[in-house]
């Protein structure tokens, strides 16, 4: 992980750590904090705890987003401190809606100059983001809002498994993982486990993206904790509730970073620190999909 991050990420880059509640690349985010990056633009529809941690650590100068919160719990407090009070440093924001964000990623991934969307009309968001504009339909009199392509320098995307080349399988909620990866210049794919190419080829409909899109593959078990990996482990809701308390105060937040990010060398040490009991609590029972017959042609 450390070598992939240090190769792929430079100060000042725009980063997309993808995921809609599911498969958030926390291990990669913590490595970025440990490495001491600065002036990063973080992009993501749903900035969550890992973005709050990057902001509190002073790595961030801009956040482009559509919903910044602690899912199911409340505010993202370090994000709010940066926006409301400039602590630890002021950050710029660029704001979309969920569909506006994923449409912009789609434009980036598909090499389009813009993407029309039936959202933003009548909302004050149009006045706050110069990138959201309106065009006339070339096929009629209608006016329609458009968003520009979003093309992050680096996307860090998690999946359950991939082969060593980065042909990746994802199941459960896919969020915007595919669009973020295909829109970005450089892609780091973090997986719970490596598998054979034969496994990928046995079920090609489950492939999120192929190796063409991927620059680095990192096998990092529990790399998404405290978020979850469908079928591997559950969301650690206690950690989200704990963050709500810890992040109320900047000094407490820094102390948490000292213990859980700066205080461990890598994800292996983090997982050891979590301890077996906590991980066993996140175990899920198996519920296998019925096998499909692809046919032997």
């Amino acid at each position: 992980m450390a070598s992939a991050i240090s190769d792929a990420v430079d100060d000042g880059d725009s980063l997309y750590l993808a995921g809609f509640t599911h498969l958030i690349p926390f291990a990669a985010g913590h490595e970025i904090i440990r490495a001491g990056y600065g002036d990063l633009e973080l992009i993501r529809a749903t900035p969550d705890l890992v973005y709050d941690q990057l902001i509190a650590a002073g790595c961030v100068s801009k956040v482009t987003f559509s919903w910044a919160g602690n899912p199911g719990i409340g505010s993202l407090r370090a994000f709010r401190r940066a926006v409301e009070d400039g602590v630890p440093n002021p950050i710029e924001t660029e704001e979309y809606t969920h569909y506006g964000m994923v449409a912009a990623l789609h434009a980036g991934a598909a090499d389009l100059p813009f993407m029309p969307v039936r959202t933003f009309a009548g909302s004050d968001l149009v006045d706050q983001n110069d990138a959201i504009r309106t065009v006339s339909s070339p096929y009629g009199d209608d006016e329609i809002p458009v968003v520009p392509p979003i093309e992050p320098d680096v996307a860090i995307v998690s999946a359950q498994r991939s082969d060593e080349d980065g042909n990746a399988h994802l199941w459960g909620i896919p969020g915007e993982q595919k669009e973020a990866a295909l829109a970005a210049d450089t892609v780091i794919c973090c997986v719970e486990e490596l598998c054979s190419t034969e496994t990928i080829r046995s079920d090609p409909n489950r492939t999120l993206f192929t190796a063409d899109a991927v620059d680095y593959v990192v096998e990092v078990p529990y790399g998404a904790h405290p978020s979850y990996a469908q079928g591997y482990y559950d969301r650690d809701n206690a950690a989200y509730l704990e963050w709500e308390e810890v992040s109320k105060d900047h000094e407490d937040t820094r102390a948490w970073l000292d213990e859980w990010v700066y205080g461990v060398d890598d994800r292996r040490e983090y997982v050891e620190k979590l301890g077996a009991e906590r991980l066993l609590d996140l175990e899920v029972d198996s519920r296998y999909a019925t096998a499909v017959d692809m046919g032997d042609y």
């Binding site: 749903t46 199911g72 505010s75 990623l105 933003f120 009309a121 909620i173 993982q177």
Partner: protein
């Protein structure tokens, strides 16, 4: 049987839903209302979540819209791009639930900032999918406690368009649907032909003066304001014993 404000809001919201509706569900009261409607009068209600899960059949109540219990056993799961474009923008969602920090007299909703955008007193989470739900669902149901600070005459920031300034038609902006009902802890409101909020039903024990005192403008009342139906014993039993036995949403 005694009941809480939240339980009344759940039964009132459930009544708004019809069989065969496809509903973009929110966490909390909307989720319970959908579960109750499914058990009572709308067995074919289709529950879709913002994360893209369709026809979810969760074994326990989800804590967020991206919860893994919504993915296991769903009939389908779409990416955000497909869910928002093909389903919501494509006109396949009948009902969307919305909440927010502020709701104004025309049903415009603010979930972005309190105060000035550039120098906010409070930075709220932002739109997420709320603006597109308000723009593209065939009808929306707003759920919020009724308090003067939550119901100002005009919101500080229009995140999600309701009936705009009541002069501009939603059609002019290419917007579908619009707010249909506002479920609060004191009353249930609809909207008149001009798109202004109007009180249709008062909850038991609540007076028109109570509602006016909790609203930031001179609110209209229909001529013959009715009383909200109280939850039945069977509805309360279902909610407490089967739908939310651990009090996940009701505390």
């Amino acid at each position: 049987m005694e009941y809480t404000d939240t339980e009344l809001m759940v039964t009132a919201a459930a009544e708004q839903l019809e069989d065969d509706d496809s509903v973009l569900v929110g966490i909390g009261v909307p989720n319970l209302a959908c579960n109750l409607a499914k058990r009572n009068h709308a067995p074919n209600l289709e529950m879709i979540y913002e994360s893209g899960t369709i026809g979810s059949n969760p074994s326990s109540l989800p804590l967020s819209v991206g919860d893994p219990v919504l993915a296991s056993g769903a009939v389908g799961i779409e990416s955000m791009l497909n869910g928002f474009s093909y389903y919501l923008q494509g006109g396949r969602i009948d009902v969307g639930f919305l909440g927010g920090a502020q709701v104004d007299k025309y049903g415009n909703i603010n979930s972005t900032v309190i105060g000035d955008y550039e120098d906010p007193a409070v930075r709220l989470p932002g739109s997420g999918g709320a603006c597109e739900i308000a723009s593209n669902a065939h009808r929306t149901i707003i759920i919020s406690p009724l308090e003067e600070r939550r119901f100002p005459e005009a919101v500080d920031f229009v995140t999600s368009p309701g009936y705009l300034d009541a002069e501009t038609e939603r059609d002019d902006f290419g917007l579908r649907g619009g707010p249909d009902a506002v479920i609060t802890d004191k009353a249930i409101m609809g909207f008149d032909d001009d798109g202004e909020m109007i009180v249709e039903r008062l909850h038991p024990g609540v007076t028109e003066a109570d509602v006016q005192a909790a609203t930031g403008w001179e609110i209209q009342f229909v001529d013959d304001v009715e009383r909200t139906r109280e939850p039945t014993d069977e509805e309360l039993r279902l909610i407490r014993e089967e739908l939310d036995p651990d009090g996940v949403y009701l505390d």
